[in-house]
């Protein structure tokens, strides 16, 4: 039904993009492709644009903003566009020259202003654009491979050139957010040629990576459509992790059936796109030799002894619900990378709380989350209400509000001027944040369970909240109470409980650990870790799955070391959609 993964599909264009929902294996497939092309004698640059990049985990060497040579692979170089780092470099380039010319508090204010989401976005995009258009970079490599960020972020990054080209053309006052970038004309040309390179089929190929699971496939389809609209029409679909084992094992059969059911819709969703496949593998994709085996389609490695054959039991979801039993209100947030099951976990926790007789409001800020899919049957009881924070709608609402507030003060022209300023990318961050603050305020009276967006976005959101609070303190306008109380509330262990959701694999655990560090820096200590979708917690005897299960223990132990309140959930044989499936899971888990 699908074509085997072959290099010729990838070796025609200089720019190769991997995109897809978090956790589908973008980094592994991009890295493996980079190694394979380099092994063919090509000069390859592998670029990560993910704020939570894990190239370092895959290759075991540090990655920076400057290209680094991969010692084991001739001709392979790596670079990491970490938006935060790019932004701080950029900030320094603007502020640095004035450190000795202006008083310190003045310089501090400048720095603070350049710490917003806008600056991060611009700085990252600049790096990105210059790689795509810098002659010396293009000339030094046969291929530049981008291991892109989780989808929402990727889309933003890729939509910027289109959006901003328009913005710059229409702008008569100099675009607000682009203000700090002098020489707009020059930038405009840069952004335009970036857009051109992206939509040139001779130059760019886009690999939509997906797993054989429904939500990842929908996500890939949505991305395919959106990017096609922007002009990236040279696309392939790569189904990663196809399980083709036949055995009489209950778990293996359920695993196979679930995949098959999910894949049923591919034919109709991706009519004109070539579909490639890579097998389900038992070994972790760390190190160059594992990457080489992976692309050859090897499912097992000879060294596959697995780790210790451990059967230590760890608490499940019941423990987490139990911790909340004595409370009547609060904020519960599930956090983690896309694809680890944050939505399911948030839904399960909400349900558990409802079963305990609590009043609960469940919400999601993740545009990629299909909450309605997980909760097909709404209104389990009048104890539960559900909402979604849709960034697009929030921005509309925010703009309308600002314009209404100011309309009395402005004439036609003034209003046009204001509207133009509201077109800036900053606006979205602010609008979403206000909506988030409003929902959290409900936690005075009930439980609010929030399913957050993927890592990079979540961090930006929290980051925005701290600079946002500073901004609020300085502002002279009317500050909504919800906003004023937000960060102190998020930092209060009694009021806010964060569950970091991860999978029993190398990259997710390492990422979760970095995420926990980031949260700690923001003054938030996660209350629990949830290790989700564990094969080790099932009774599988399947040859492939049980090897995989053995490999999991190392990472379950590691998680427990990171946070003593670690709970482990088995891979569920049932399809996790609808309240019924959640109820069954709840009964099995919590009873």
């Amino acid at each position: 039904m699908f074509t085997n993964f072959t290099l010729p599909e990838f070796s025609r264009t200089p720019f190769i993009f991997f995109t897809g929902k978090g956790g589908v294996g973008k980094t592994s497939t991009a890295s493996a492709t980079a190694v394979a092309l380099a092994d063919e004698g090509k000069k390859v640059l592998l670029v990560s644009t993910d704020p939570a990049s894990n190239l370092e985990d895959v290759f075991g060497i540090g990655v920076s903003l400057k290209p680094v040579r991969v010692p084991e692979v001739e001709g392979l170089f790596m670079i990491n566009i970490d938006p935060e780092a790019a932004a701080s470099d950029y900030r320094e380039s603007v502020v640095g020259p004035y450190r000795d010319k202006l008083p310190e508090p003045v310089v501090t204010q400048m720095e603070e202003q350049l710490s917003g989401a806008c600056t991060v976005e611009i700085a990252a995009f600049n790096e990105f654009a210059s790689l795509l258009t810098k002659k010396e970079v293009i000339d030094s490599f046969d291929h530049i491979i981008f291991d892109t960020a989780p989808t929402g972020h990727t889309l933003r990054l890729l939509q910027l050139p289109a959006a901003w080209s328009g913005f710059l053309e229409e702008s008569t006052h100099g675009a607000s957010c682009l203000g700090p970038l002098s020489g707009l004309g020059e930038k405009k040309a840069l952004y335009e040629s970036t857009v051109q390179a992206l939509s040139d089929r001779e130059k760019t190929i886009l690999i939509l990576v997906t797993r054989p699971d429904e939500s990842a496939i929908w996500e890939a389809e949505r991305t395919a459509r959106e990017l096609n609209d922007i002009g990236l029409s040279n696309q392939r679909l790569l189904v990663n992790g196809l399980f083709e084992s036949g055995s009489d094992d209950r778990v293996a059969n359920a695993f196979y059936d679930k995949q098959k059911a999910a894949l049923a819709s591919i034919g109709s969703l991706f009519k004109d796109i070539l579909v490639l496949k890579l097998p389900y593998i038992t070994y972790p994709l760390t190190g160059v030799s594992a990457l080489r085996s992976f692309l050859k389609g090897e499912q097992k490695l000879n060294s596959d002894g697995g780790s210790q054959d451990e059967t230590r039991s760890l608490p499940g979801l019941a423990r987490l619900i139990g911790d909340l039993r004595h409370k009547s209100s609060g904020v519960v947030m599930t956090m983690g990378k896309g694809g680890v099951g944050k939505t399911t976990m948030a839904s399960a926790i909400a349900l558990g709380l409802v079963k305990e007789g609590k009043k609960v409001h469940l919400t999601t800020t993740d545009p990629a989350a299909h909450l309605d899919q997980v909760m097909k049957e709404e209104g389990i009881s009048d104890q539960l209400s559900i909402s979604t924070i849709d960034p697009v709608k929030e921005v509309e609402k925010y703009r309308a509000e600002v314009i209404a507030e100011s309309a009395g003060q402005l004439d036609e022209k003034g209003l046009a001027y204001l509207k133009e300023d509201l077109e800036s990318p900053c606006t979205e961050e602010i609008a979403v944040f206000r909506a988030f603050a409003d929902v959290v305020e409900r936690a005075d009276r009930e439980f609010v369970v929030i399913d957050t967006a993927p890592t990079g976005h979540t961090l930006l959101l929290l980051d925005a909240s701290s600079s946002y609070n500073k901004e609020v303190e300085r502002s002279t306008g009317e500050v909504p109470r919800a906003v004023r109380q937000l960060l102190p509330r998020l930092r209060n262990k009694e009021e806010t409980l964060v569950a970091v959701v991860t999978l029993p694999e190398a990259t997710p655990v390492l990422e979760a650990s970095r995420m926990q560090d980031d949260l700690k820096r923001a003054g938030i200590m996660p209350a629990w870790w949830i290790v989700n979708q564990s094969m080790a917690a099932t009774d599988t005897k399947d040859p492939l799955l049980s090897v995989r299960a053995k490999h999991e223990w190392k990472w379950i132990e590691r998680a427990a070391g990171e946070n003593e309140n670690t709970v482990v959930l088995p891979w569920f044989t049932e399809k996790m959609t609808g309240a019924k499936a959640l109820m069954n899971m709840y009964r099995n888990e919590v009873r």
């Binding site: 607000s176 600002v402 906003v483």
Partner: protein
């Protein structure tokens, strides 16, 4: 010909509407200055976040910042004299400095939509 130079504190945008809360004061000032520009008054605004060089080049502003730090901002210079620090000028002040009538700095009241059919 009046020359007005406004030195804003660092704001994400020129009009400051990117902030978490829209300050109506900023909107009023942006609009009033915009209207003055329409009347060919020489108006320029500098934002500390975007154009720090302008703050360095103007010795009057340099001196203000040395003395009061960022609290001196916003600062307004009219025809080479510092006339306002720490807050934005009122429409009345703008009118006095430029000779433009104060009511001309207000947005025109929009005509009611003519929907009186009866």
């Amino acid at each position: 010909m009046t020359v007005i130079r406004v030195y804003d504190p660092a704001m994400c945008c020129e009009t400051g509407v990117c902030g978490p809360v829209v300050d109506p004061e900023l909107t009023r000032v942006a609009n009033a200055l915009f209207l003055l520009e329409q009347k060919s008054i020489d108006v320029k605004r500098y934002n500390l976040g975007n154009e720090p060089q302008a703050f360095v080049d103007e010795t009057l502003i340099q001196k203000l910042l040395e003395e009061k730090g960022v609290d001196a901002l916003p600062a307004v210079i009219v025809n080479g004299t510092v006339v306002k620090t720490g807050e934005y000028p009122t429409n009345k002040e703008l009118a006095e400095w430029t000779g433009v009538r104060e009511d001309e700095l207000q947005p025109e009241k929009k005509e009611k939509d003519d929907l009186t059919l009866f």
